[in-house]
Symmetry: C2
Subunit: 223 residues, 2 copies
């Protein structure tokens, strides 16, 4: 197990977050690092999903994880047990990360040698959707217990994500969750979204998700 | 079924939200209306919990519900089927309500004749915790599928709530959720918090929660 740092990121002073995010993406392109911004509600299974994803990909590429939270370091602690590097970012009460806060994390982390960095954003379906972090791709997790109406209530989040994982499908029999309806609601908001029904507990569906991520990382780091 | 209005609440111009919230509480005291601010993550079961609560209390007191969401009116539509009055507030992308936004909702709603108004806040464990809405009491729902580590990650929310409902206890056998650990974590942050394990699906635990709410409403409206 590796140790991990806990750092406090400070609110950005940049007025134009979009331009700053674009600049960060160029820097990441130059150093051949793919940054994935992973978002969801609290408790949808981001960390468990990451553990499965890391297990599938860590022999093929160098991976690092930045865990962002208001408080606590339980997630960074968990991630280090997977054998990849992790850092815990504390946002000082902020409900999201912007591009400069992400850059502060990347700089402290040291990402020159990493091909895939996953930013686990603050658990929140509202604020993180409004701020481009500089990530190459956005992904989100909706978990079955949260309900199939979430795309109706949080449309911006579903609109800006390139991939939507529908997690905890091993509990479908316990909840009223209409998979076809949720897929249709997501596609209506975002026709290009890739949707992956998965169970981070059983591993079901992870091959398709890992294949998508593998392809995206290759395209970014090798082109 | 009653009809319901959908209104757009605008961001407050008041610099001092705390003072404005205190003023709103005085107004509510004068008109003998108890306002409960109900918060949680997206998908923890706020609306289903409200439906059960309404069924238990609606013959004893006049109840109204203000549903706040970024978008959609699915919740207000559901609530009206319970036979109480509802209004849908749209926050225009805002991740929380403050006291003035709450007042805008109350004014549009017309609450003079109501003894209990429940404000279902935006699904979010971060931002709503930072803004006093003017409610008499704060309650939150943590659902079992979200995990028992949430008090560690979102301490402010758990600190400011008078009552914490732990919902979906009918799914305890499906998830790794340590009820004793979560209770200890909540009590450490907030020794006075009342904790109610419930299942909005089966009704288990609702008598204790309804008894607490009944007592609070009576103390506020009759003293």
């Amino acid at each position: 197990m590796e140790a991990y740092k806990v750092i406090q990121v400070k609110q950005s002073v940049f007025a134009n977050n979009d331009a700053d995010a674009e600049k960060l993406r160029h820097q990441l392109k130059d150093q051949k690092t793919f940054l994935l911004n992973l978002m969801s509600s609290p408790g949808s299974g981001k960390t468990t999903t990451l553990m499965r994803t890391i297990a599938l990909l860590k022999d093929e590429m160098k991976i690092g994880v930045m865990e962002a939270d208001i408080d606590s370091d339980v997630d960074a602690k968990t991630i280090t047990t997977s054998g990849v590097r992790a850092i815990q970012l504390h946002t000082g009460g902020m409900c999201h990360l912007d591009a400069d806060m992400t850059r502060q994390g990347l700089t402290e982390f040291g990402t020159q040698d990493l091909e895939l960095v996953v930013l686990e954003n603050v658990g929140n379906l509202v604020c993180p959707a409004e701020f481009d972090t500089g990530a190459v791709k956005n992904a989100m997790i909706l978990s079955v217990p949260e309900g199939d109406d979430k795309p109706l209530k949080y449309p911006l989040m579903f609109s800006i994500c390139d991939a939507v994982l529908i997690n905890k499908i091993d509990t479908l029999s316990v909840f009223d969750f209409d998979m076809d309806a949720v897929k249709a609601r997501i596609k209506k908001l975002n026709p290009n979204a890739e949707i992956f029904p998965v169970s981070a507990r059983t591993g079901e569906g992870f091959e398709a998700w890992a294949a998508w991520l593998r392809k995206e990382v290759k395209e970014w780091t090798q082109s």
